[in-house]
Every structure is written in C-alpha cells, then in structure tokens.
C-alpha cells in the first residue's frame, strides 16, 4: 500500500564523534547493509525509471515521453492525484492529531494506550485489495450499510455510484491515513515536557496560553512534517484504487499501470518511466520540504 517509511522524529541521537582506526572501519561496515538497501531499492529504480522515460522502445534517446507529461489527460491525472493526496493528508493529519491528543491523557503503559497503538500499527498497513473489499462490502452498492440506509429511505448513490470513482477513494485513503498519523505524530506529542507546562503555570500562564505559546509552536513543524509524509503515502498508493476504480485511470499510479499493461494501446511502456519520473519529482520535493521542517522540529526534542 505504501512506499513511505514511517519516520520517527528524532534527532536526539547524535552519533559519537568518529574515532580513527578499526572502530571507524567497523562503523562503515555496519552501515554497509543499509547503503546496499538504499542503492538497490531506491537509487537503482530511480535510475531505471529515469532511463526508461528518456529512451524510446528502440533504445534511442528521446524527450517525447517527458513531453507527454504535458498532455492534458496526464496533467489532469497528476492534478487528481495531488488533490486526493492533499485532501486525505490534511483530513488524516487533523483527525490523527486529535486522536493523539486524546491519548495524551492515558497512561503510556496502560492497556488502552497499548491497544490504540497496536490498532494504529495494523490499520496503517491495512490497505490494497483487502481494504477495497471491506469498503465494497460495507458501503458498496449492495453493502451492508448501504442496504440499511436504503431501508431508512436514504439513497447515498442517488447521484450515481460515486464509490467507484475518484471521490470514492477519499474514504478508504483517510482510513489508512489516520492511523499512520497516530504512529508518526504521537512521539512528537509525547515529547512535550511536563516541565514546560509547569514553567507556563509558574509564570502565570493558563492552559490556553500553554497551547498557543508553547504547545502549538513546538508541535507545528512535526505536524507539518507528518502531513507531508501522509501526502507522499497517499500519492504513492496504488492497490486500493486499482481494486475500486476500474475506469479512466484517474490517478498517476493507475496511469502507469495502463502504460505498462495495456493490450489495446501498445508501445507506451516508456511513458510509464516518464510518469514515474514525474512522481519521483513530486515526492522528492515533498521529502525535501519534510527534511526542512523536520530539522526545525528536532530543535525541541531530546
């Protein structure tokens, strides 16, 4: 479902200053598996996508595929992907943050908190065909909830079966965005020091002033960073949409599938590379913003 790796906001851990000799070498050796991983699963696919997007099927250099990104159909697709990701990221971030806030009052080791943490971990990964099926079974045309509502005289599909179109993707996406927000934002919220609240009280502040002067300014960078992560998560999601909406390939990952697998419009495999390139650029920008914001957030943690 997701290619984004949940990142724990940290920055507290600074590596010890490098020592010379054997331990230095050991440190590099220890890093080697990670480097290999990054090369194989991040750098190599990026290079391949770049390469296939810049060449035609005969292997000659061409800018046609990249130029095809300006095609109105493709532009619409990128726009659909962007607003869908943005909308679900913001909704997921706000709702997820509220859940985190509610959990603050619970004991960190208590059963409720543990249960919510575990559930968030599971639901953040509950995507793809399973999730699509769950939605079809509950609010599909013949779904349980749909039938109950129809019985009560409410027809949620009066304007047509939107559940299998772009708007129908919002609900399933929000479904996995909220728990991902809980996982990634909770550590930042937990890092709010009780001493700050005490200092606020000592200085004559109120509960409201704690949030407006301390809490929100401190949390804002983390919140923004998590929202960006959610955006990237939604932007790269594929399987849920593939199982729900079969017509028109309205988001970029589906458009890539069409270019790669179509048996009616042949010879567009390299367009998939150009599309992937477009996605890499968008996600690259988002990740760059993320690191900027995260650097600010790191100041307050530790």
């Amino acid at each position: 479902m997701t290619t984004a790796t949940p990142v724990t906001p940290d920055g507290a851990e600074r590596t010890a200053p490098p020592r010379r000799g054997a331990s230095h070498l050991l440190a590099w050796l220890g890093l080697a598996p990670f480097l290999a991983y990054v090369l194989l699963f991040l750098a190599l696919p990026t290079v391949l996508a770049l390469a296939s997007g810049l060449f035609d099927s005969d292997g000659a250099f061409t800018l046609d595929n990249v130029a095809a990104l300006g095609d109105p159909v493709i532009l619409t697709t990128f726009w659909s992907s962007t607003w869908l990701s943005l909308l679900t990221a913001v909704v997921g971030a706000v709702l997820g943050a509220l859940v985190c806030y509610a959990m603050l009052g619970l004991s960190e080791t208590g059963p409720m908190r543990t249960a919510v943490d575990a559930a968030a971990g599971v639901f953040a990964q509950f995507g793809g065909v399973m999730l699509a099926f769950a939605f079809i079974a509950t609010i599909g045309l013949q779904g349980v909830v749909t039938q109950l509502l129809t019985g009560a005289g409410i027809d949620i599909f009066a304007d047509g079966p939107w559940i299998y179109e772009l708007p129908g993707l919002i609900l399933p996406y929000v479904f996995f965005q909220i728990p991902l927000m809980v996982i990634t934002f909770m550590p930042a919220l937990s890092a709010l020091k009780p001493q700050w609240a005490e200092a606020n009280l000592t200085l004559g502040g109120m509960r409201a002033s704690f949030w407006t002067r301390v809490g929100i300014p401190v949390l804002a960078p983390s919140f923004l960073a998590c929202t960006l992560l959610l955006f990237a998560n939604a932007f790269s999601s594929y399987a849920t949409a593939a199982a729900l909406a079969s017509q028109g390939s309205q988001i970029v990952p589906l458009q890539i599938r069409t270019a790669l697998t179509s048996e009616t419009v042949l010879g567009r495999e390299n367009l998939a590379g150009a599309l992937a390139l477009g996605m890499i650029v968008v996600v690259g920008v988002v990740m760059w913003l993320y690191s900027l914001v995260q650097r600010r957030a790191a100041r307050w943690q530790g």
Binding site: T76, G160, Y164, E165, A245, Q250, S262, E263, T264, V265
Partner: protein, 376 residues
Amino acid sequence: MTPLPRTRHLLAGTAAVVATAIALTGCATDTPASGDAGKAATATSVADFGTFADLEAAAKAEGALNVIALPRDWANYGEIIDAFKAKYPEITVNESSPDISSAEEIQAAKTNEGLDTAPDVFDIGLTVALQNTDVFAPYTVQTWDDIPDALKESTGLFVGDYGGYMSIGYDSSKYPEPKTLEDLLGADYKSAVAINGDPTQAGAAFAAVGLADVQSGGDLDDFQPGIDFFSELNKAGNMLKLDVTSATIASGETPVVFDWDYLNATHVADNPDWKVRVFPGTGYAGYYNQAINKDAPHPAAARLWQEFLFSDEGQNLWLAGGARPARMEAMIAAGTIDADAAAALPEAPDTVVVPTEEQSTKAGTLLGEKWAAAVQ
C-alpha cells in the same frame, strides 16, 4: 438444419484482419531442415518429432508446462487445464499470473528469458500477437487444415483458437432484458452497467466500446460514437466503474455487464438468473490466439498443449464454456461437435465486424485521448 450457430459470420469479419497479419509476418520464418527431428524447439509440426506418440514421449520427458494468464473461469480454461493434466499426469502444469494482460505475457517471456519459469505458451489478443511475432515459434497442429485461413498466420506463428461476440450479461431477476443499446441509458439501469475492464487496457473492454460504436450507427474507422455512448451512460448515472469479477457478479454488485458472450455465459454459475444478450444488427466479434514461446523451456510440452487445444476434445471444451472454437465448421461437418453445447450458444448477430490492425491502433489512440475525460 441449423440449430447450430452461424460461425461463418464471425469468420468473414476476421478474415480482413488476419490477411493483414499474414502480409506482415509472411516472410518471418523458414522451415528448419528436416534433419534435426529430435530438436523440439525448432519443430514446426508433429512430423519433426516422428509420430504423435514421439511428441507425447518428448513432452512427458520434459515433465512440465508453464502456462500464463489463463484465468480458470475464462472460456472454460479451468476444465481444459484439468483435462490436459488428467490425460498427461506425467506433465506438471504450472499456472502463473492468471489475471495479467496479453501485453504482460510477452513481458513475462522477455524478463524470464532463459529461465525455467518462462511461459511456454501464450493466449493473446490479436493486436498484441501482430506486434510480437518475433517472440513466437511457428507450429502447425495436426488439425491445421480444419482451421479457417482467416484465423491463422500462414506459418502457424499464432493461430486463432476461440472467440465470440460482444454481449450484455444481466441479472434477469432484477433488470428487464435490454432490447437495444439505447435501453441501457434508461432509468431501469441506474448504477448498474459495468464494462469488464478499462478500454485503454483490456481487449474485452475495448470491444465493448466497439460494439457501442457500431450499434450507435458509427463505423470502426471512428470509435467516437462508442465513446459518446458511454459518456451519456455515465451522465445518466448508469455507469459502474468497478472491475467485474465472479465475486461482484455473485454479490450483485455488477448486475449488467458488457463482456464477450462466452465470459458472460460462465456467470450463470455465480448467479442462476444471469442471462446473456447479443444485440441484433451489427455485432462485434473477436478471437483469442495461441502461440508458442520461441524460447520455451519445455518446447515439446508447449507443442503438445497446442495439439490438445486444437483437438476435438479441446475444441469441445471451449464450446462447453460458451466460446466458439476455431474448428467449429469442420467439426460440424465431421459430426464431432458437441451439438448440445453448440445449440446453447446465443443467437448470432445479422452482420459481424472486426477491426483491422490499423483501425485498432487508431481507436486505441482515440481512447487514450478521450476515454478518461468521457467517463469522468
């Protein structure tokens, strides 16, 4: 007597297409010298093995057959594979990726080249077949002469094996029978009409637009009237954009479906009230083709599989699945056809069309530009 369907219609339409195919690929192959009879990979007929028993022995010695993209509920493939397994228990049939597209089959052959896991045989749409003849090995089955010329590439690089007409399947317990295409735009079919796939991806869905096109008075040179029909269907709130599977039919999620008649026919198993309707007037036909991977890891088994598919037994199994097999005419003449299964096929349309490769390409380009916006 004609309780049997008129396959001639179907063939007449296909003839033009394969004529192009032959023109394109006519010079692609030479028959290998007759000396290397033992080499299964270059065998172009049973004669290159010696006898049919020699072919069977060679295939059994290989012990495996890799098939790809054969959904068990597609044109009776489940039963066909099981019958092959029962007949040749010595050969393990490895079924991989049943739901991928024709284009992906070719990719699978290329990415697995030289490996044991590469597909031995392909089941592909005509557009993909025409563009990938360099991946195929020529082979003529024993029943070659029975196969109408219109369906086969002259050296046997690929051969049409089963086909049918684009049709409407519907749940007769909840929806009235659509008499014409226009009926589907009516209020009776609210949120009900689905296509099996996206026309810019899947051959069957492409054919659905083709049928809408010719039924709305358009011709195959311009698919726009077909696209317009689905655009209207979408505006009427009748179009469903969910992918059709046996599960969505069984649950009633996709109650009215554009698909090949033989695929729609199989849904009776999921819903006893399921009926298939082929509109009168101009019909839209299509055949799927068999081909052998020229780098097949099990070349003898691949050839034996072809022999099986084009045997009376294989052809009747397709017929039992509601598809029209390539040798149907000859088998009717020879009396080897399964007459009950043949009589159960839906009535054929008055005239039948099949797009040429050029028309296909043009329609594909048009769909690429217009489809997404038309059904948004």
